[in-house]
């Protein structure tokens, strides 16, 4: 195979791998924005929280409890950590965000920004800023797969497949089921949905929990790939915002598709002009703003 093509394919795979996180996070952001009209700045921090919970469950919980042999591994963490993040998210919604719904949405943006700083600060203090490797990758996912054009770690392949399933599962639930119908109706006209006897505040809280849970899940998936670091979400969230501006926040599928594609584009940019890979998503955002300000999947107006 031509080395150039090989490199493009390989960087494309890595890009897709990053796209997983763009997709999952912008998906969660879109779910939350769709129902609450809240832009959750803390989404990146909750992703970080998910990764840290996985780390803590594996490395720190045992020593804290005085049982040194206790390591809660990757698989249980994949369930537990997102649930814990979701619970934390619901607390935020219930006790903080809920007071701001009647105000300009910039206040909820600022509130979640504050939460981001607090979470980051706390984790920088207890772990250091540079990141800790996650040691709990399951043996079954260790090793590499030969894709023909590159050796690709099994684990990363698992992450790609798993997250595609999660994203489309979420899309299916929201767009194609009874629950989804209620959520969509709640977005359109919460007052009326309430009058039909549906507990909209509860639904809102659960949805926020779900969206943040997705962030937590992405965090757990990220832990074995990247070092677990307090700042891992901070830089990501800005990229996610650009993804969301490009895709438009109105659509679930739009968020997912935009996320994966931008990961891919970013990866391939590395082949041709590596210094631009940091900015390519932002530059695309500029182009989209000029050509189609409402975003690729956004509704007009």
């Amino acid at each position: 195979m031509d080395p150039m093509i090989r490199l493009i394919l390989a960087q494309g795979m890595l890009g897709l791998n990053n796209g997983v996180f763009y997709a999952m996070l912008s998906l969660g952001l879109a779910v939350i924005f769709g129902l609450l009209n809240v832009v959750n700045f803390a989404h990146g921090a909750l992703y970080m929280l998910g990764a840290f919970l996985a780390l803590i469950l594996y490395s720190n919980l045992g020593p804290w409890l005085g049982i040194d042999a206790l390591h809660i591994g990757f698989w249980p963490a994949l369930v537990l950590a997102p649930l814990m993040v979701a619970a934390f998210g619901m607390l935020i919604e219930r006790f903080l965000l809920r007071r701001l719904y009647k105000l300009d949405p910039i206040y909820s943006l600022l509130l979640t920004f504050g939460i981001t700083l607090v979470l980051q600060g706390v984790f920088i203090n207890f772990f250091n800023a540079s990141g800790t490797p996650y040691p709990g990758m399951p043996d079954s996912l260790k090793g590499v797969v030969n894709l023909g054009f590159m050796m690709f770690p099994k684990y990363r392949l698992f992450v790609i497949v798993f997250s595609i399933i999660v994203c489309f599962g979420t899309w299916f639930i929201i767009e194609r089921t009874h629950i989804g119908a209620r959520l969509r109706a709640g977005t359109e006209n919460p007052e009326l949905v309430k009058a039909f006897g549906i507990n909209v505040p509860l639904m809102v809280m659960l949805t926020f929990g779900f969206g943040t849970g997705l962030a937590g899940l992405a965090g757990v998936l990220a832990a074995p790939i990247y070092s677990v670091s307090p700042l891992m979400g901070a830089n990501l969230i800005i990229v996610i915002f650009a993804v969301v501006v490009i895709g438009g926040m109105g659509s679930i599928l739009g968020a997912v598709v935009t996320g994966f594609s931008l990961g891919l584009i970013e990866g391939i940019t590395k082949v041709f002009y590596a210094p631009a890979s940091n900015t390519v998503i932002f530059l695309l955002m500029v182009i989209v703003l000029l050509v189609r300000p409402q975003g690729l999947f956004g509704k007009h107006g």
Binding site: L110, G121, A129, T279
Partner: protein, 306 residues
């Protein structure tokens, strides 16, 4: 009331070096000007920019480069930084104004990130190293700015001029229209005001003044660095303004002083500073959205803006 506030401010600025470490006092002034410039946008136009660090930090690099490498005198360097920030503001504003509300905030944040990456990768900025050793030089060729007091009064003058400009903008026919736009945008439009152009001009002014603050800071610390262009800086200036009182004249100054002093006092506790800052944010949003000066103005029932 406003006269009194002006007098207090002026007195405080003049005697500060007697009580404060001059570099710290200069830092306060730079951030106060930055926050006041930012407030021009959020407080008086209703636009939340989450990317003001780009103007602050970008101007610092330009001023630093112009002074250090091209050997320009300090005033011209500061001017260059300011003009650059205003031009950058025009570009960013043009794009961001295409979307409203929360999107506006996200777009400014993302655009500022482009500036950040430029600062990281352009050779002249020194990347992570920053632009170091910017000479303070001589003011008008005579006053030696490496003397702390000289430098202080120079910075104080820049601050007062910048602040007066902001005051004037707010209390100008233009400011009147801005306020109308903030209060009821569709109505302003129906009265025939080209709302987008007013917003853009406000954005440019705010960016330029933020650049003035950034350039001055570069000269004070003899340093332009990524910190100044980082999104966290954008967040800090929002906090200063929110804490002091959005849409008040003196609020951002008060907010900036508190935040900078807080960071200074708490520098011993490491990253807990971030927790404190974040907590302050949450408290402001939940408990006193009017900010300190806003609350005082309400309690004293002073008409107009303090």
């Amino acid at each position: 009331m406003q006269g009194l506030a002006w007098a207090v401010l002026l007195a405080a600025v003049l005697i500060a070096p007697a009580f404060l470490y001059p570099v710290f006092a200069m830092q306060l002034l730079c951030f106060a000007l930055f926050a006041a410039a930012f407030n021009l946008l959020i407080g008086f136009t209703g636009l939340l920019s989450f990317g003001h660090a780009a103007f602050f930090g970008g101007a610092a690099y330009i001023a630093g480069h112009v002074i250090k490498v091209w050997g320009f005198p300090p005033i011209l360097g500061i001017l260059a930084g300011t003009v650059f920030a205003a031009a950058l503001g025009w570009l960013v504003g043009m794009l961001a104004i295409r979307r409203q509300g929360i999107y506006f905030a996200m777009i400014t944040l993302a655009l500022a990130q482009i500036v950040y990456f430029f600062a990281l990768q352009m050779p002249f900025t020194g990347g992570e190293d920053g632009l170091q050793g910017i000479p303070r030089g001589h003011l008008l060729g005579v006053i030696d700015l490496s003397q702390p007091l000289n430098m202080y009064y120079f910075v104080a003058a820049v601050f007062l001029i910048g602040f007066a400009v902001i005051y004037r903008v707010v209390h100008s026919p233009f400011g009147q229209v801005l306020q109308a736009i903030r209060e009821n945008e569709p109505r302003a439009l129906s009265l025939g005001y080209n709302v987008d152009r007013f917003k853009l001009l406000a954005f440019v002014l705010s960016a330029g003044l933020a650049g003035l603050a950034g350039s001055t800071k570069a000269l004070v610390f003899q340093f332009a660095s990524l910190t100044d262009a980082h999104w966290q800086m954008s967040g800090e200036v929002i906090l200063m303004t929110l804490l002091g009182g959005m849409g008040t004249i003196f609020g951002p100054v008060v907010g900036a002083v508190i935040v900078v002093a807080l960071q200074h006092m708490l520098s011993g506790i490491g990253s807990w500073v971030q927790v404190v800052i974040g907590g302050t944010f949450i408290a402001c949003v939940l408990l006193f959205r009017r900010g300190i000066v806003g609350e005082i103005a309400r309690m004293l029932k002073v008409g107009g803006w303090l």
